[in-house]
Amino acid sequence: MSSGFFIPAMVMGTLLLPAAAGPASAQSGYAIVPNERGDNLTILSPDLNVVKTVETCARPRGIHFDSDHTRFFLGCADDDMIAIYDTESLELVGRIRGVPAPETFDLHPDGRRLIVSNEEDAAASVYDVETGEFLAEYLTGEEPEGVQVTSDGRLVFVASEAANLVHVIDLEADAVIADILVDTRPRRFALTPDEKELWVSAELAGIVNIIDVETLKLVGDIPFLPTGFRPEQVTPVDLVITADGQRAYVALGRANHVAVVEVPSRKVIDYVLVGSRAWGLALTANESRLYVANGLSDDVTVVDTKSLKPITSIPVGRVPYDILIDDR
């Protein structure tokens, strides 16, 4: 058992970073980074060093905690399964099999239902995370990507990259209730904390579309253009909104920057230079640091959110995709 090795390390992590830790539990403060082409996970410590590399499944992509953060789910696109890991030991503890090419997913507030986009199947499917049972499937456009469940658990939004649509699934009605046309190649979502606005990155249009959750209509766009880039190089993918709903960070892909947006005014206030093809984003629990996965420079840039300056870039594995931070 390797858990004997981990427990002391994690206790140390907690001691070193008391401010970052939330409730008193065994949170390591580790950042877990799936490397899509490396077939492994890079584990970064809160002092921004590589702790270890964990071999995992084929083409790991989306990563998400379970309801109490003791376990996390990892989408294994080329293995057609979702792997379940123990957060503390980083050991594989379960598998949900037969999930065609999972890309990203979101956990329903009930903690039981995992809603997964099946990139190659033009469908969003629902699985029971306890039993691995397949519960439901909804037809989407080709290449579904981002998945977002509302906190009341009623609506699920799924972006279809190839069809330029955001599908709205009503889980109670068990139906797709709307297909909203958005700009070219919608990728990921962020909900404002009041859940009035859904932000969608449109990768090839180089903008974020804003959908009003009440009416399910487009109500605004935010264009991005860091100095010195052509519009076609601006390819936003992941985005996060802070807990106070004041600020959003948008990874601009090939423009190698993260845009910082003031949410109420929808104005871009800064662009932070990061690595090459920035995609995945994660904020620490206290929101003092932003982690950015750079897919084409195989590193993770950590940005200080107060000064909006990068602190460092840490080499990880091949093509880092997403980031999960164990600090909440």
Binding site: E120, E143, A163, D179, D183, T184
Partner: protein
């Protein structure tokens, strides 16, 4: 939408070589079109429309009837996959509100002097393909070019395009030599590879061999150790089965699952033809032909080409703007426009006939 082809099309006849080998067998790009239609299912749900495809393969004698039938059904577009003589026949019978999308022919003819008002093109022209190679050579400093070409009509057109591209991007053709497929010792300066590639200094061999039976013996056999590009070695293509960026693996995997083979450049050109029409329907928010045709030609059309940038159509000759992949048999080495080549309006217009160069007067 209608797909229009002709029976017994020599383009699709088996082309066996000596000992039963076959180098250039082609398949009709119907699977590309079908995949494009599959992609419209949910889009149709969102728009409250269904898209339909009519696949017509007419005999040469009944081509005009088939065309009339297609026209009377008032399709959004007729995708034409025809040999040149049938293209002439079809385009001369064009009504003013018909829209044709050429999904096969790369010739400059239909984009230049013989361009028709209702004709769009999704495959890159020879000029675009050779410009892509020339940009890459320029970027790498391969400036001295030995041009080796065949003698068929197809070779002649591609050779002319190569000459033009070398001029456009400041490369120097140190010599131009035609090869012959022969064992005649009196013609050995045209068939012996060492003689064909010796006696001159060059950085790169640009090979043009449409049939491919000679050219495949050229790489690794040149008198000087230099790369071979063009018809062998590094080849400019609209699409490649190993392309890894911009969502291309998903498209390749979807195609492979449907067709049980790899997606070719021709399949891609057919797939994207469906894609530009459906995108125009989205933009027009209706299936009204006139509105869709306007949207198709509009500067705001923005089609995801799976090649990293948004595509739309050149208003001067109806050509789809697109990046070109420079690929070996199993890897994409570079994508043109190559970094550093700039354009007043759109970097994609550094490839092929720009507005001022176009011979299309429509």
């Amino acid at each position: 939408m209608v797909y229009l082809g002709v029976e017994g099309d020599p383009h699709y006849e088996p082309q066996p070589l000596y000992t039963g080998l076959s180098l250039r067998d082609r398949e009709r790009p119907l699977e590309g079109i079908r995949l494009g239609f599959r992609d419209t299912r949910v889009l149709g749900r969102a728009l409250g429309l269904t898209f339909e495809l009519d696949e017509v393969i007419a005999s040469p004698e009944t081509l005009s009837e088939a065309l009339t039938d297609a026209q009377t059904s008032q399709p959004l577009a007729i995708l034409i996959d025809l040999p040149p003589e049938s293209m002439v026949q079809v385009l001369s019978a064009t009504g003013t509100d018909d829209l044709f999308i050429n999904i096969r022919d790369r010739s400059g003819r239909w984009r230049g002097k013989d361009c028709a008002p209702g004709l769009l093109h999704t495959p890159p022209s020879h000029a675009m393909l050779s410009d892509a190679l020339a940009q890459y050579m320029r970027a790498l400093g391969w400036t001295d070019v030995l041009l080796i070409h065949g003698t068929t009509d197809a070779d002649a057109e591609q050779t002319a395009a190569a000459r033009q591209s070398t001029t456009k991007f400041g490369l120097k053709i140190v010599d131009e030599r035609a090869f012959e497929l022969t064992n005649d010792p009196r013609l050995r300066d045209k068939s012996n590879i060492a003689l064909l590639t010796g006696g001159v200094r060059y950085d790169v061999v640009w090979l043009i061999d449409d049939l491919g039976d000679f050219g495949r013996y050229l790489p690794f056999a040149t008198y000087s150790p230099r790369p071979v590009i063009g018809s062998e070695g590094l080849v400019p293509r609209a699409w490649h089965w190993t392309f890894e960026r911009y969502g291309a693996p998903q498209l390749n995997q979807r195609f492979r699952r449907q067709a049980d083979r790899d997606m070719t450049s021709e399949d891609w050109a057919a797939w994207v033809a469906v894609k530009i029409v459906t995108e125009a329907v989205v933009q027009a928010q209706s299936a009204d032909r006139a509105a869709v045709h306007r949207a198709l030609r509009g500067a705001d059309l923005s089609v995801d080409l799976y090649k990293g940038v948004r595509g739309n159509l050149r208003d001067w000759d109806g050509q789809l703007r697109q990046p070109i992949l420079l690929a070996t048999p199993n890897a994409v080495i570079a994508v043109a426009p190559v970094r550093g080549f700039e354009h007043q309006f759109d970097t994609l217009d550094t490839l092929g006939a720009d507005r001022a160069d176009s011979a299309c007067r429509r």
